[in-house]
Amino acid sequence: MEPIIKIENLVFAYAKGEGREAVRAVDGVSLAIERGSFTAILGKNGSGKSTLAKNLNGLLLPTEGVIYVNGYDTADDEHIWDVRQSAGMVFQNPDNQLVSAIVEDDVAFGPENLGIEPAEIRRRVDKALQDVNMGAYKNKPPHLLSGGQKQRVAIAGVVAMKPSCIIFDEPTAMLDPKGRSEIMSIIKELHAEGITVILITHFMEEAVEAERVIIMHDGRVFMDGTPQEVFSRQEKVLSVNLDIPLAVELADMLRERGIAVPENIIKTEEMVEYLCQYE
């Protein structure tokens, strides 16, 4: 099957003030994102991961190279709405994403702009709010909600557009632990329903939930593989200023103490299971 997103030699450069040399925030990235997959993108601040994300739905356009989303070139003006409808985006700060005074109006905003008929909008809004467990709040004003609840409404707004792919740009960075775990479980559910998920995050415990982990560094793909493949190479991960998951850190210390923990253990639950079965 054709990948949902195809990036061919993407370069994104911007001028950092007048008369200065252009900075290549993304510098020669080629990737294919499979339909229905769950990819986490990691990288320290300034590694190019957010710039990459914003190129994926035409918010930014490539300086060089081409990106195809659902077969549409993101730089093709005629199809920009096809691109945006195929790949929805959820940002870090929920306060910057809500536009209406009532939750359900906010969720309806996207589909209304697509010119969808009212009965269908109603169905989509109800379904989307149900998907993020916010059905009970549909008549509430967003400003009375917690950060995690607002972020769920923002996600519902994207879900109501029926995108094939959702790009989450650090969606939990501003949330407390409860809000963070709510958002993660919704992301996992959306993925289970068949939506392609791209999750940009600083939290390694979130990245281990993905099927594929890509680490960006200096605008390039630095590592790309399953979470097991990536996180088992600790030295390399730490060398670009990222963390490793708790289970990987503990596994290493246990190995130093003569317990031969296999390298594919990267989640806390897996570690607990392994240790309980150890002989």
């Binding site: 650090e170 600083h202 200023n241 990222l242 708790l246 503990l250 317990i259 309980c276």
Partner: protein
């Protein structure tokens, strides 16, 4: 107001000199309201807050008297940077205290160095050209330059990448060590709280749930769960093992300690098994 509720209700606690003091509570627990009382932005309806020998809740106390004693670094403090240069931004607070120019400059230099930035390199730079982590340091320097007796940091690492997160905490520890002052750390990151703090206060619905050492506080699993707080990740892991029969200590707070005890436990079990096998063979 149709319905009034108490944002803070009968809160009492003490912090000893030189302590790193943690405050934890979920969003809406009253944490922020408490902080705003500590630096005089809000006045209590009843009760007192005494810093050293000064009651900052006295009605006629000057704001500068409070500022000299308590420095509050808000969440995302870099949003409050506004001056043209780093040095000017850091000088803003001390200048408002009406200090002599020489004294101001000395404090600015000291504060910038304390947050781990080179004074000569950074003094003339625009704060807006700096990286996220550096901006945050400059904002913290602005509060440190007031030389407060107690420095409060509200989620100082929110939104930072892993490296910047570690660097900012290291800087906070260093400032705490060098000034010897009280540092109050508010955080959702239980691992950081467990590692850094001498004592921890848990707040919920405007009331103090408990105060104690990290070990004491994180041993109260049920109470913490009731107020929506997690254990540090490593403690969650070791608790899961304990429930499955591992003979390890309660409330393990560091990965090193966890590895040590788990390894010892597995080896003991192994020796035990080997002995059993031998015994069977002997028969």
């Amino acid at each position: 107001m149709p319905t009034e509720s108490l944002a803070l209700d009968d809160v009492s606690f003490e912090i000893a000199d030189g302590q790193m003091f943690g405050i934890i509570g979920h969003t809406g627990s009253g944490k922020s309201t408490l902080l705003q009382h500590l630096n005089g932005l809000l006045k209590p309806e009843s009760g007192h807050i005494i810093i050293g020998d000064v009651d900052i809740t006295e009605p006629d106390i000057a704001m500068t008297e409070i500022r000299k004693r308590i420095g509050l670094v808000f969440q995302y403090p870099e949003y409050q940077l506004f001056e043209e240069t780093v040095a000017k931004d850091v000088a803003f607070g001390p200048r408002n205290l009406g200090l002599a120019e020489e004294e101001i400059q000395e404090r600015v230099r000291e504060a910038i160095e304390l947050v781990g930035l080179d004074y000569e390199t950074f003094k003339e730079r625009s704060p807006f050209e700096l990286s996220g982590g550096q901006k945050r340091r400059v904002a913290i320097a602005g509060v440190i330059a007031m030389r407060p007796e107690a420095l409060i940091l509200d989620e100082p690492t929110a939104g930072l990448d892993p490296k910047a997160h570690k660097d900012v905490l290291k800087m906070v520890e260093e400032v705490h060590r060098r000034t010897g002052n009280i540092t109050i750390l508010v955080s959702h990151n239980m691992a950081d709280i467990a590692r850094l703090c001498d004592r921890v206060l848990v707040i919920d619905s405007g009331r103090v749930v408990t105060v104690g050492t990290p070990k004491e506080v994180f041993s109260r699993r049920r109470e913490l769960a009731e107020v929506g707080l997690d254990l540090p990740p490593v403690t969650q892991l070791t608790e899961a093992l304990r429930q499955r029969g591992f003979q390890i200590d309660e409330t393990i707070l560091s990965v090193e300690e966890a590895a040590e005890q788990i390894a010892a436990c597995l080896k003991a079990r192994n020796t035990h098994n080997t002995q059993n096998v031998r015994r069977t063979e002997d028969k």
